[in-house]
């Protein structure tokens, strides 16, 4: 008996998770808006990966201050395509390297927030009872803070570091994710396949992570994309407020903050970092919109 079910299992099993994710991403081809989003995001990812090859200068090297876009460095003969900043660092190189920071910290913070939000949301939605009451109340309290009031207080008190920024973002975003996961779980826990798993005597952890979570993935993937865009905005804004990742490594928001006093005379110092962050967030939001369009249609 045991042997026969094992023999049957591979043929009846659905395609593996990784394969299905690849297929879902393949579907995005059907949405032109989503494709534009994918193109923008991939361009930034490639720029970040190949930053050492693409950037014409060392992003932290002070070369020649106050150069307008298109000026030529007399020492090396290379062009400052986007000009230099007030202490002479090449803007283009800093923007390319700046993408690295956002594309490392953004996904890490989002993933951590998701880990916390999924675990608490599944627990609240599946077990109900006092777990649910406590977690829901706690998330209500956290969500009642205007987010940036929270960030400003937490980061100014505990100091600006990558870890603190990630922790603050997780603290502020996990409750929102928890609510979504909880809502989806409340719906999915009454399905037949969950009842079947319960009758089989499966462990609650197995039911939550193998039966419920994969079936909640559609709305979660769309939300993750939007949230990643929002986390990118958050990291940029914190940099702009002087609460971001510590200098001297380039950070788009931080560049705007450092150079904003000179914006009247040298607009290129602030406009290009703003364009960089806006385009990346736009890419993520268009991607999310494309995914949502597809998920509604199917």
């Amino acid at each position: 008996m045991a042997a026969s079910t094992e023999a049957l299992a591979p043929s009846t099993r659905r395609p593996s998770g990784a394969l299905r994710v690849v297929r879902a991403i393949g579907l995005i081809r059907e949405s032109p808006v989503g494709m534009i989003g994918v193109a923008i995001v991939i361009a930034w990812i490639l720029a970040a990966i190949f930053a050492p090859l693409l950037a014409p200068f060392d992003p932290n090297a002070t070369i020649l201050p106050f150069q307008r876009p298109g000026a030529v460095d007399p020492a090396t003969g290379k062009t400052f395509w986007l000009g230099t900043d007030k202490i002479g660092r090449d803007m283009l190189s800093r923007i390319i390297y700046g993408g690295r920071r956002v594309l490392i910290y953004g996904p890490i913070a989002t993933a951590c927030a998701y880990a916390v939000g999924i675990v608490t949301g599944l627990a609240a939605g599946y077990f109900r009872g006092w777990w649910d009451s406590i977690l829901s109340r706690a998330s209500d309290v956290i969500l009642s803070f205007p987010v940036f009031v929270l960030y400003v207080i937490v980061i100014s008190t505990f100091g600006r570091s990558g870890l603190n920024i990630v922790l603050a973002i997780v603290f502020a975003s996990a409750p929102g994710i928890m609510r979504i996961v909880r809502g989806l779980t409340l719906d999915l826990r009454n399905r037949d396949y969950v009842a079947a798993a319960q009758t089989r005597g499966e462990h609650p952890l197995y039911i939550m992570f193998v039966e419920i979570l994969p079936n909640a993935r559609g709305p979660l993937i769309v939300d993750a994309c939007l949230r990643l865009g929002y986390v990118t905005i958050t990291i940029g804004t914190l940099g702009f407020l002087g609460l971001g990742l510590p200098p001297p490594d380039p950070d788009w928001g931080g560049m705007v903050n450092e150079m904003r006093a000179l914006a009247i005379a040298f607009p290129h110092m602030v406009v290009y970092p703003c364009l960089a962050i806006s385009s990346l967030v736009l890419g993520l939001n268009l991607l999310a919109d494309g995914l949502r369009e597809i998920s509604i249609r199917d």
Binding site: F145, V147, I153, G229, F240, A263, I264
Partner: protein, 310 residues
């Protein structure tokens, strides 16, 4: 109805109480560091000990919290360590300025977002719908500080129509309000537009709208009289919740335009570790946020007969 109101108010009080504990723990858990922040980095241990003794900081934590809460409830948050005046004296005029800014944003943003949302949701999937949706995604993708920078670039540097700072040095100037309001509207309207669109699109598919169209009611009247009333219930809640977002947005925009409001006060206080000002700002921000949320719930119930009569 009364039970509902009492529940909502009780919930508001509960949230404020928990928030006050959190704020207190984050800011004042270690009395030594409070003394250092108040007396400055150049104070010595003896001065700090005397100050702590004189101000009741040697008491146990729960007693200190209760005393702090009692005086906070009467509006006494202590003295600003930076300006050497009571916190409320600085906070109230700043709050008034931010209220003006926020009101300006809502007055521009809400009608704009509702009109665009209704136009988009009226004909789901049309070119009009796609254009408005993509446009609102695009503006929502630009962080507030970046939209501020772009607006300054266009209207201050290029067209030279407007001033680039809004510090109101020579008295209140409506021209200085335009860019801060514009930047906040640009970032914020997209969300309400999309909510209105979704709500409108849903209503347009209901049976009573189809009936109205089929019996030959003019399209204009179908939308104005039948669809709008139901479609605008959901956005109402969203608009009230936007006030929570606005409290975040004003920090960025007030800093960018040097506007003397609540947001820039909080940021300055945080960067200077002006501890009592931070506490007061946090409590006020959460009170406003939770207060508007409560109003949203009550208003939602009042507007939606399906909930009101159940």
């Amino acid at each position: 109805m009364l039970i509902f109101l009492a529940k909502r108010l009780g919930y508001l009080l509960f949230t404020m109480l928990v928030v006050s504990i959190l704020v207190f723990l984050v800011m004042e858990l270690d009395p030594g560091s409070v003394a250092q922040k108040v007396l400055g980095p150049y104070s010595n241990d003896e001065q700090r000990r005397l100050w702590m003794e004189a101000n009741g900081y040697l008491e146990p934590l729960p007693i200190r919290y209760v005393e702090w809460l009692m005086s906070a409830m009467t509006g006494d948050f202590g003295m600003s360590t930076r300006f050497k005046v009571p916190v409320t004296e600085i906070l109230l005029p700043r709050l008034a300025n931010t209220a003006i800014l926020g009101l300006g944003v809502l007055l521009v943003m809400v009608p704009l977002a509702l009109v665009l949302g209704v136009l988009a949701g009226m004909k789901e999937g049309s070119t009009q719908d796609r254009t408005i949706s993509v446009f609102s995604i695009a503006t929502t993708s630009i962080p507030e500080f970046a939209s501020g920078v772009f607006l300054v670039g266009i209207f201050v540097l290029w067209l030279k129509w407007l001033p680039g700072v809004s510090n109101m040095v020579g008295g209140f100037d409506i021209k200085q309000m335009i860019l801060p309001v514009g930047a906040l509207v640009m970032y914020g309207f997209g969300y309400i537009t999309r909510m209105t669109r979704a709500s409108m699109a849903e209503v347009m598919q209901t049976h009573y709208i189809r009936t109205a169209i089929l019996k030959g009611v003019p399209r204009r009247q179908v939308i104005m009289r039948h669809a709008l009333r139901n479609a605008l219930i959901a956005p109402f809640t969203v608009i009230m919740l936007q006030i929570n977002w606005l409290l975040s947005g004003v920090i960025v925009i007030e800093y960018l335009f040097a506007y003397k409001g609540f947001g820039s006060l909080l940021l300055e206080a945080a960067l200077n570790q002006d501890i009592y000002v931070i506490e007061a700002c946090a409590m006020v921000a959460v009170l406003v946020a939770v207060g508007t949320q409560t109003l949203a719930d009550i208003g939602y119930m009042y507007l939606n007969p399906r909930i009101r009569f159940s």
